[in-house]
C-alpha cells in the first residue's frame, strides 16, 4: 500500500484547482459553491474591528511577558473573556479539589458545539447557570471536607484550632493561587481569610472557614471566567501583553483542558515563560502529561463529530477505543506525521469491531489488525468517523460530503436555502436506487453546492452509518453501490483509502488542521484577521514534518500567543 514517503508534502505537486483551504474558510462560503447564492454567516462574528481599549488593565507591567521576539501586529488575535466549559470546569474541580465526580456535567447547562464546545461568543449567562455554579461550589466543598485525606492535602496545614490564622492564611494563599490562576494580592488574602476566620469562629470549626473560602473561590469571576487583563501595549490601542500567569492559563487550557498546576505557575513566576524558548520547553513537558493525551483525543473527537455515537454502548466504546488508540500512537508514541492518522494500514479493534468491519478478530481483547486489501485505511475507515453526518435510517452522501468539505478541508458550504428541509434525503419515491434519487440535486439551483458534497459522500457509500461494508442499498439488492466518488476539482476516488490519499496528495488536510487547532485555541471561529497567524502555523507545521505535537507547541510558542487584542 502506501509508502511513508508519499505522505510528505511534495512541493512540486500542483496545488488543487481550489484556492488554499484557509482562504476559503476565512473568506466564508461564497466561493465554495459556484452558485451559492450569498455568503454564509459565521455565528457570533460581527466582523467589526476592535474599537480599542479604554484603559481597562491596571496590572503592573512587572509581571507581564516581554517576549524575546515581539509579535507581528497582524498575528495578535482578538480574544474575549471565556467561561470555563463544563468539561473544563470538571477538570479544574478534579485538579484543585481532587474531586473526580464531574459535577458540572450534571449541574450546568450544556455548551453549544461548533463542533468545539468552547466558543465563547456563543456562551450565554443564565440564572440556572449561576444558580448551578452556586450549588456546585457548595457541594464540592462538602465533598472535600468529608474526606479527611483529601481535605488535608488541599488545605496543606494542620490547624491548631478553629482560630488558627496562620494556617488559614496559608491555605487561602495557596488555594487561591490555584483557583484564580495567579498569586493573590495581600488585600485579597486578607479578605478571604477574614471571612474564613469569621465562619470558623461561628461554626467553632476551622473547616467551616475552609468551606466558605472554597465556595467563594469557585464562584469568583476569575475562577468561572478566564479573564485576561494584561498590560496595555504602548501605541497599540486595544492590544495587551498577557501576564505570565495569563499565558500559563492559555497554555494549560489549550494543551491540557484544565487549569495551570502549581508547577506551571511556579515556572511562570520564575520567568520561564518570558521567552519563546521557555514556552516551548514547558509545552513539551506539558505534552507528556496524560491529561494532554486525553485532550488531544478529545480535540479530534469534537472536531470529527464522534464524541458521542448513536450506537449501543459496547459498539460505541469499541469505536472510541479504536480511534483513540490511533491518535495516541500517531501523535504521542510514534511522534509521526499527523497525516498518518489517515494512512494507517492497521487498526486497533476487538472482536465486536472485527465483525463489524469484516476483519479477522484478534485472539484476545483488542489488538492492532492489518486492513489488508479491504479498501480501508486510516481514520476515515473507522466506525467512529463513518457514524457521523448521517440521515434518519441511512447514510447521507450530502451530509458526509459537507462534513468532509467543511471539517476536513476547511471549505465551508453555505447552509441550504431555508425552503429546503435538510432533515431527510431526497423523496424515497422519486427513484428506486438512492444514487438516482440524488439526481434531484442536479438542477442548476442545487448543483452549485451539491456537486461539492454529494460526489464525496457517494465515494463512501459502500460503508453504512455504523462503518459496515455493504454492496447494495438497504433492502434492495438491485441497487448495487459502485462506491465511485469525486472531490470536485480535485480527483476521483473509491472508498476511504483512496479518499485519504487524494486529500493528502493535494495538501488538503494539513492546511485545515492548523486552522482547526487555532480555532480550538482561541475558542471562536476564525476570521480574515486571523490569516496571518495561521500562515505562520502552516509554515511551522510543515517545517516540523507535520507532527501534531509540534503544531500545538507552535501555537503556544508563537510570540503573538502571549498577546491579546481586545474583543469589542
Amino acid at each position: 500500500m502506501l509508502e511513508m514517503g508519499s505522505m510528505r508534502k511534495a512541493a512540486a505537486m500542483a496545488r488543487p484547482v481550489i484556492a488554499t483551504p484557509m482562504v476559503l474558510w476565512l473568506a466564508l462560503a461564497a466561493a465554495a459553491c459556484r452558485d451559492g447564492g450569498g455568503k454564509g454567516d459565521e455565528a457570533g462574528e460581527s466582523g467589526s474591528a476592535s474599537t480599542g481599549g479604554s484603559g481597562s488593565a491596571t496590572d503592573t507591567a512587572a509581571d507581564s511577558t516581554t517576549g524575546d521576539v515581539p509579535p507581528e501586529q497582524d498575528t495578535i488575535a482578538r480574544v474575549g473573556m471565556r467561561r470555563l466549559t463544563r468539561y473544563e470546569f470538571d477538570n479544574v474541580v478534579r485538579d484543585i479539589l481532587l474531586d473526580d465526580s464531574r459535577p458540572a456535567a450534571q449541574l450546568l447547562p450544556e455548551d453549544p458545539r461548533t463542533p468545539f464546545d468552547n466558543d465563547y461568543t456563543l456562551q450565554v449567562v443564565s440564572q440556572p447557570l449561576v444558580d448551578g455554579i452556586e450549588v456546585l461550589a457548595k457541594e464540592a466543598a462538602e465533598r472535600l471536607l468529608a474526606d479527611t485525606d483529601k481535605r488535608d492535602t488541599v488545605v496543606g496545614c494542620q490547624p491548631s484550632g478553629a482560630d488558627d490564622e496562620t494556617c488559614m492564611r496559608d491555605f487561602v494563599t495557596r488555594f487561591g493561587r490555584l483557583a484564580l490562576r495567579r498569586p493573590l494580592e495581600a488585600a485579597e488574602v486578607d479578605d478571604f481569610t477574614a471571612l474564613a476566620l469569621d465562619y470558623a469562629g461561628q461554626g467553632e470549626d476551622f473547616y467551616v472557614g475552609v468551606e466558605v473560602v472554597i465556595r467563594a473561590m469557585l464562584q469568583d469571576a476569575e475562577f468561572v471566567y478566564r479573564i485576561e487583563l494584561g498590560t496595555p501595549v504602548e501605541d497599540q490601542p486595544g492590544v495587551f501583553a498577557l501576564s505570565r500567569y495569563e499565558l500559563a492559563s492559555r497554555m494549560s487550557f489549550f494543551l491540557l483542558g484544565t487549569t495551570p498546576d502549581a508547577a506551571l505557575l511556579d515556572a511562570a513566576e520564575a520567568g520561564e515563560l518570558d521567552t519563546a524558548d521557555g514556552v516551548r520547553a514547558r509545552a513539551q513537558m506539558l505534552l507528556t502529561d496524560p491529561r494532554a493525551h486525553e485532550h488531544v483525543d478529545r480535540f479530534h473527537s469534537l472536531w470529527l463529530g464522534y464524541a458521542e455515537l448513536p450506537h449501543p454502548q459496547d459498539l460505541t466504546n469499541a469505536m472510541r477505543t479504536e480511534t483513540a488508540a490511533l491518535v495516541e500512537r500517531v501523535v504521542f508514541e510514534d511522534k509521526a506525521s499527523w497525516l498518518e492518522l489517515f494512512t494507517a494500514t492497521e487498526t486497533y479493534i476487538d472482536a465486536l469491531l472485527a465483525e463489524q468491519y469484516g476483519l479477522p478478530a484478534p485472539a484476545d481483547g483488542a489488538a492492532w489488525v492489518p486492513y489488508g486489501d479491504t479498501g480501508r485505511m486510516g481514520i476515515l475507515s473507522h466506525g467512529s468517523f463513518l457514524s457521523v453526518a448521517a440521515n434518519v435510517g441511512d447514510t447521507s452522501p450530502t451530509k458526509r460530503g459537507k462534513f468532509i468539505r467543511e471539517q476536513l478541508m476547511c471549505q465551508p458550504i453555505p447552509p441550504p436555502p431555508p425552503n429546503v428541509m435538510a432533515d431527510n434525503g431526497p423523496d424515497p419515491g422519486a427513484a428506486e436506487c438512492k444514487v438516482d434519487r440524488y439526481q434531484v440535486h442536479a438542477v442548476a439551483s442545487c448543483a452549485g453546492c451539491h456537486d461539492q458534497m454529494d460526489p464525496i459522500g457517494f465515494g463512501l457509500e459502500n460503508y453504512d452509518r455504523a462503518g459496515q461494508f455493504r454492496t447494495h442499498d438497504i433492502d434492495n439488492e438491485a441497487c448495487v453501490i459502485d462506491g465511485e466518488g469525486e472531490i470536485s476539482g480535485v480527483g476521483t476516488f473509491n472508498g476511504p483509502a483512496e479518499l485519504s490519499q487524494l486529500l493528502i496528495d493535494n495538501d488538503l488536510l494539513d492546511g485545515c488542521v492548523t486552522q482547526q487547532s487555532y480555532r480550538f485555541a482561541l475558542g471562536r471561529e476564525l476570521t480574515a484577521d486571523d490569516a496571518a497567524f495561521v500562515a505562520t502555523l502552516d509554515e511551522d507545521f510543515a517545517a516540523a514534518d507535520t507532527r501534531f505535537d509540534e503544531l500545538l507547541i507552535a501555537v503556544v510558542s508563537n510570540p503573538a500567543f502571549a498577546y491579546r487584542r481586545e474583543d469589542g
Partner: protein, 495 residues
Amino acid sequence: MRRVRLPRRTFLRGLGGAMVGLPLLDAMLDDHGVALAGGGALPSRFVLLFGGLALGCDSGPQPNNVVPAATGANYPLGAGIAPFGDYEDVRQQISVVSGLSIPCQPVFGDPIPPGGRGINFHAHTNPIFTGTANLMPAPLESHDYRVTNWSSDQLVADAIAGDTTFKSLQYRAQALLYNSGVGPYYRDLMSWRLDDQGQPVPLYPVASPRQAYDTLFLGFVPDDPVEAAKKAFELKKRRSVLDLVDRRMSGMLDRLGSNDKIKLEQHYDAIRNIENLLDNLPPEPEGACMMLEDPGDDPPLGGAFTGDDPNAYDVNAGYSGEETRIRVLTDLLHMALVCDLTRVATFMHTMIQSFMNVAQITGHQYAMHDMSHGGQTVQYNDVIAWHMNHFAYFVAKLRDTPEGTGSLLDNCAVVYMMEAGGGYGYESGAPWAVHSTDNMCWFVAGGAGGLVQGQHIVAPANADHTANVLISAMRAVGVDSDLGDVSGHIPALFG
C-alpha cells in the same frame, strides 16, 4: 455604565410584612371564600405548558388521533389524548381548540404575514410564543429567526404578579438538547421579558428538579431545632459568600472591555438575584401550602443521541430520566401556585425539535424528531399521550386542590401549546406534512374569567392564530391585550 447597588433589606423575614407574599390562608378570605377578606378577588394564575416536535393534530392521511371526531362536550378520546379519560375524567376540565394555525409565507422570499413565520420549520419561536411575525433573516441563509417581542406569560406577569416571591417561574423537563449539531432556534426557551430598552431578554428555564425544589422551599424552617439552626446558619453562609463574590465581581467590571463587561454584568445581575431572594425569603409553607418531600438528586443526564436504528440503539442515551423530572417539576409547579409563590409560569415538557429518546417512556426506540419523520404515526401517538398524561395529571391536581369555596383550577388559565400541526408542508411542498403549522390544536384548562371547560371547539379552518388562544387565556386572567401582531380572543372559549 456603573451599576447602582440596591440597598439590602435589613429587617428579618416576618418583620417585612407585606414585602413578601404569603400563601392564601383561610383567615385571609372573606366569609364566602370567593374573595380576599380585604375585598380583593382571589388571584388568577396563568400557566403555559409546551410539548415540542411534531406533536401535531391530524388532518391528513395518517391521523394522530388527537383532534376529537366530534365537537362540544364529552368529546371522544383518540389515542393521543386518551389520558384525558383518566384522573376521574379530567376531560371535563379540558377544552380542545382545533383548527388553529400560524400563517406561513407562501413562497420563500414573500412577505411574512402578520404573526406568521418564514419558511423554515422549527424556527417559529417568535410567532408561537410572542404572536409576532418572524423577521426575514439577514442574510437569508443565516436562518436567524430571532425572537423580537415578549412572550405572553411575561406580559401577564407584569400585570398580575403582584408581590409574589417569584414574578414568574420557568421550568423545563427535557434536560438536554441531545443533538447539539442542529441549529438552536432558541429550541430550549419559551419566555422572554422586555428590558428597559424594550428589547427581548430570554428567561432560561430551570431544568434541575432539585434546584427548583431548593429555591421554592428556601424559606422553610425545619421543626427540629437543630436542623432549623443548621439551615439558618447555611443561609447566613450563603449570604456572606455571595457578598464577597458580589464585591469582587463588581470591582472587576470596570476593568473589562465592553463586550466582556456586558457578559460579566449579566453574571453579576444573576448573583444579585440570588442575594435578593435570600434577603426576601419565600414564605414558609402553611396550611394547604406544604413543603413537598425532597426529590433528592436529579436523575443522571444522558448523552447526546441522534440514532434511530432499532438494531443499533442505546436506550440510555438521549434520555435523562425525564419521566421523573416532569413529575417532580409538575408537583413543584402545582405547589408554587397553591402557595401563591407565583401566579405565572411556563413549563416546557419537551423542546422545540426535540431529540429526546422515547425508548424508556414509550418502548419505541426512537428520538422524537426522527420518529416524527419516520412514518411512525401510530406509534407516535404514544409520545403524544405521554405529554398529555402529564398535562392531565397537572390539571386534575389543580382541580382537586380546594381554594376558597371552589378549587385552585377555578382561578387558573392553563394552556397546553404544541409545536406543530399537520397539513400543507410549506418547506417541502407536500400536501400533508408533520412539520406544518396548519391544523394545530391546543388545549385550555381552568375556570378563570369564565373559561368554558370540557368542550371541543373548532376554530374556522386555519383562520384563528394560536395566539388567539393565548389572548383568550390572558383575557381570562384579566389582561385584555393584543399579543404581538395578533388581536382578538376566541369567544367560544367563554361560552
